[in-house]
């Protein structure tokens, strides 16, 4: 039986009570994250939007009107608004064709478009490429970027110096890029192979 979400003291939130906010955010962040991830299967974008929504709410807390609904409803309203903004932003951008290899060529100099990251194929290629790295590199990349650990925490976990973690990361990034290029160059199903 799922626990009923706890009603938060609206007054504590509006007044900026840090204890109340901490508890509220603990509960709301995963929900927001899930909501954004459903819209676009792109974890980094989801993180970005969660962050934006939380800050919008923190900064605008005094404009919350309890007569119009609960604080939760209000923050989901902000989140929906951010989704709308994102959709509008995307409409202005050129469309992205599915070919990842062309984008990988410029990934040193330009941010990859979100649309590309949301391709199922991209995620597949990344998983494959990661799987082909040596274990240390894989572990470090996952710990750093998926779990969001710091180099120091990774060093502690892997019993290495922080310096060593940095250089593994450096190498891992390069080998991942090389692997990605290699894999994305392989013709996809339906295309003729030589």
């Amino acid at each position: 039986m799922e626990q009923q979400p706890k009603k938060h003291a609206c007054s504590g939130l509006v007044e900026g009570d840090s204890g109340v906010w901490q508890e509220f955010l603990q509960q709301i962040i995963p929900q927001l994250y899930g909501m954004f991830l459903k819209s676009w299967p792109n974890p980094s974008l989801a993180e970005e939007l969660v962050q934006k929504t939380v800050f919008d709410a923190v900064r605008g807390r005094t404009t919350f009107d309890p007569e119009k609904g609960t604080f939760e409803e209000w923050i989901f309203g902000i989140a929906r608004n951010n989704i709308r903004l994102e959709i509008r932003k995307r409409a202005a951008r050129p469309t992205v064709d599915g070919d990842i290899s062309a984008y990988l060529d410029v990934m040193d100099t330009e941010p990859l478009p979100d649309e590309l990251l949301e391709n199922k194929e991209t995620a597949d290629i990344v998983r494959m490429a990661l799987g082909q790295l040596d274990e240390k590199e894989q572990m470090t990349l996952r710990a750093m970027y998926i779990e969001g650990l710091s180099a120091r925490e990774i060093a502690g976990r892997m019993e290495l110096t922080e310096k060593a973690v940095h250089s593994i990361l450096y190498r891992a990034r390069n080998s991942l890029r090389a692997k990605l290029k290699q894999l994305s160059a392989i013709p996809r199903d339906g295309e003729t192979s030589t």
């Binding site: 840090s18 980094s44 990934m107 310096k163």
Partner: protein, 665 residues
């Protein structure tokens, strides 16, 4: 150290996240976001306060403007409606009143409009001032920093120009927030010798070689350089806890400091060793390769070295009065004497306020006399380098013997403040003597008011070489381990020309050798000054290449042209390098290759080269550590690890040096 705006890292981070299979945000993300949000809660709501303040001001302004407008309209109406009364006293008074009111109102309006209009004019003034000052600084910078080589005279004049630039910046108040322009050649310094305003380290900015499209120019020509002073100099800086100035770092001298164990040729004067591998350095470049050209000169055994007549010209001026200067010179000389052969002879001249001969030529039989003379040297006075060098050359000319090595060895901190303090005349004399067979080695000692530019040019023009001695270990390297190579030349005016194949190579950049550039068409001009290479010396040149994808064939042909140091006859030979010889990966390359790459990366980062953008010392340190393991017992490589780690700490502490942004691909 996290490089700013690192797109690669960002992209990798975003890509790797795709591989996570949880629908939950990472715990670290949630925790950090909660912390940031709570921090934000405790911030005073400055934005809102500011906003409301702005709103109130805007409202007040609006009200004032409306009031002023209404009054103005009233005034005009009164004037228009009551013209018949204008001639009466009452009318005049009314008109005057209205007029005054109008003036007041206009003033009022003006003052109300101030907040909106003022920033524009202010900004324009700033922009104008900034332009003026930037122009003035630019001019001053160009004056003492021409694109090509400047003479030492110029570098001596630099402080004056800096003053000029500063005074220019003072004419246009208020000082705008313009980009800071630091004098590129004068750094550091402790106490000026004799109170003169030349106390500074003199380095010259030769720029950084750009990438060149083979379509535009497929030939790359430069003079060989076996100097190593820049590395020892930088080492001195790092030991003292400073990052060396960008201009003190010459990549080729860093690279050439290390031993790469190229096998020496048996018959020929030179052997060429080429190797290339994929190379990832800096951000924003893909498909980069590093090409290493290694040249090794014929070795001459100690017994077969020609006898030498060595004339020491020692700077004993006040500025040398320190243990790391004259003290080190004396120790170095003792080392040298222990390694001389019975036929060798030594003479000594010194200079301070005046130059003088202190010891006529003596051989090893009179070793005690030589040592006593060396020990008796003491410092004092100003620095009349010109006279010292002249007397040294006079001695050398008298003692000149065919079939001997005739070498003047100048030991100084390089600052001249008496007589001809600029180098143009000294250099001319030295060049003439070098053509007659008396060569010159410039050995630098001491930090603080050290003239790198002068010494490098003396060594270059004197057909000898230039080294910097910071420790007794370095003195050993030059006067003991490498003495034969230091003294006996194999090749003179040696030049290298690399002809890249445009079908395979898209673009190239020569790493270092910026001040050794030779125009392509002068490669076969044997009067054109090249570099001198001593016995057993090796020269390493590195190119970063971008290859056309999938192209196979010849990458480059290397031409080497030099004069035999004995006979003066000119030899030219070539060596080819093909795509089939490329290593598959960087890690597949030889340890010597990786050492050269690591050292070059170190130097490029230290000199804030444009091409080192985004590169950090972390991977360099890691590579150096790995290499120290592979080069078991090579003290130079062990020392390198230490230096890179020192530099890394210093760079972490101090904000990053500005990157030379003037280059473009």
């Amino acid at each position: 150290m996290k490089p700013e705006n690192n797109n690669l890292e960002n992209n990798i981070s975003r890509l790797v996240k795709l591989a996570g299979d949880s629908n939950q945000p990472p715990k670290a993300f949630t925790d950090s976001l909660i912390n940031k949000a709570i921090d934000e809660l405790s911030q005073p709501d400055t934005t809102r306060e500011r906003k409301s303040k702005i709103m109130t001001t805007k409202k007040t302004l609006k009200i004032f403007a409306y009031a002023a407008l209404i009054l103005l309209v009233c005034g005009v109406l009164i004037l228009v409606m009551v013209p018949p009364l204008s001639k009466t006293k009452y009318a005049r008074i009314t008109a005057k009143l209205a007029d005054e009111k109008q003036n007041i109102l206009l003033k009022d309006l003006e003052s109300k409009q101030q907040p909106t209009s003022a920033p524009t004019t202010q900004e324009q003034r700033y922009a104008y001032n900034e332009k003026m000052v930037a122009g003035a600084l630019d001019k001053a910078e160009k004056l003492y920093m021409p694109a090509d080589r400047v003479t030492v005279k110029d570098s001596f004049e630099a402080p004056a120009l800096v003053k000029q630039a500063h005074s220019l910046s003072c004419i246009v108040p208020p000082p705008p927030p313009c980009k800071q322009s630091t004098p590129p050649m004068a750094h550091g310094g402790s106490k000026p010798p004799n109170g003169e305003d030349v106390d500074a380290m003199f380095f010259k900015n030769y720029g950084v070689n750009p990438f060149i499209d083979t379509e535009d120019d497929h030939l790359s020509t430069f003079a060989m350089d076996v100097d190593t002073a820049s590395y020892t100099l930088a080492r001195g800086y790092l030991h003292d806890g400073h990052i060396p100035p960008n201009d003190a770092v010459r990549v080729e001298e860093f690279v050439n400091y290390f031993k790469y164990n190229y096998p020496a040729p048996k018959k020929d004067d030179f052997a060429v060793y080429s190797e290339a591998s994929p190379w990832q350095f800096g951000t924003g470049r893909q498909n980069s390769y590093l090409l290493r050209l290694g040249l090794k000169a014929r070795q001459i055994s100690e017994e077969n070295r020609k006898p030498a007549i060595l004339t020491f010209v020692i700077d004993v001026s006040g500025s040398m009065a320190r243990e790391d200067r004259l003290g080190l010179v004396k120790k170095s000389l003792r080392l040298l004497i222990d390694n001389l052969k019975p036929e060798d002879k030594i003479g000594i001249a010194v200079y301070e306020t005046r130059g003088r001969k202190v010891m006529d030529y003596k051989g090893l039989v009179e070793k005690d006399d030589i040592l006593a003379t060396i020990d008796s040297l003491s410092t004092g006075g100003s620095t009349y380098a010109e006279e010292g060098i002249r007397i040294g050359y006079e001695m050398a000319e008298k003692a000149f013997k065919q079939g001997y090595i005739n070498r003047v060895i100048l030991c100084t901190d390089g600052v001249a403040n008496e007589g001809q303090t600029s180098s143009a005349d000294i250099l001319k004399v030295i060049k003439e003597k070098a053509d007659k067979g008396i060569t010159l080695s410039a050995i630098g000692f001491g930090m603080g008011n050290y003239n790198d530019v002068l010494l490098e040019q003396l060594g270059d023009k004197g057909n000898g070489h230039y080294a910097y001695v910071d420790t007794i270990a370095e003195a050993k390297r030059i006067f003991e381990e490498n003495l034969t190579g230091t003294l006996q030349l194999i090749a003179k005016d040696a030049k290298i020309q690399v002809d890249f194949n445009p079908d395979v190579v898209r673009s190239y950049r020569l790493i270092g050798y910026e001040n050794r550039d030779v125009p392509d068409e002068r490669f076969r001009d044997d009067k054109y000054d090249g570099g001198e290479v001593g016995a057993g010396h090796s020269v390493t040149a590195l190119y970063e290449l971008k290859l056309w994808p999938e192209k196979k064939g010849k990458i480059a042909t290397t031409y080497v042209r030099y004069k035999n140091a004995e006979t003066g006859s000119v030899t030219e030979f070539k060596s080819e390098f093909n795509t089939s010889q490329l290593n598959r990966g960087f890690d597949d390359s030889s340890k010597q290759f990786r050492l050269a790459a690591t050292v070059a990366e170190f130097a490029e980062i230290l000199r804030s080269s444009y091409w080192a953008k985004g590169a950090t010392l972390e991977p360099v340190l890691q590579q150096a550590q790995t290499l120290a393991g592979e080069f078991k017992g090579d003290a130079d490589v062990i020392k390198l690890v230490d230096l890179v780690s020192k530099a890394r700490q210093l760079m972490l502490k101090s904000p990053a040096k500005p990157v030379e942004d003037s280059q473009s691909e």
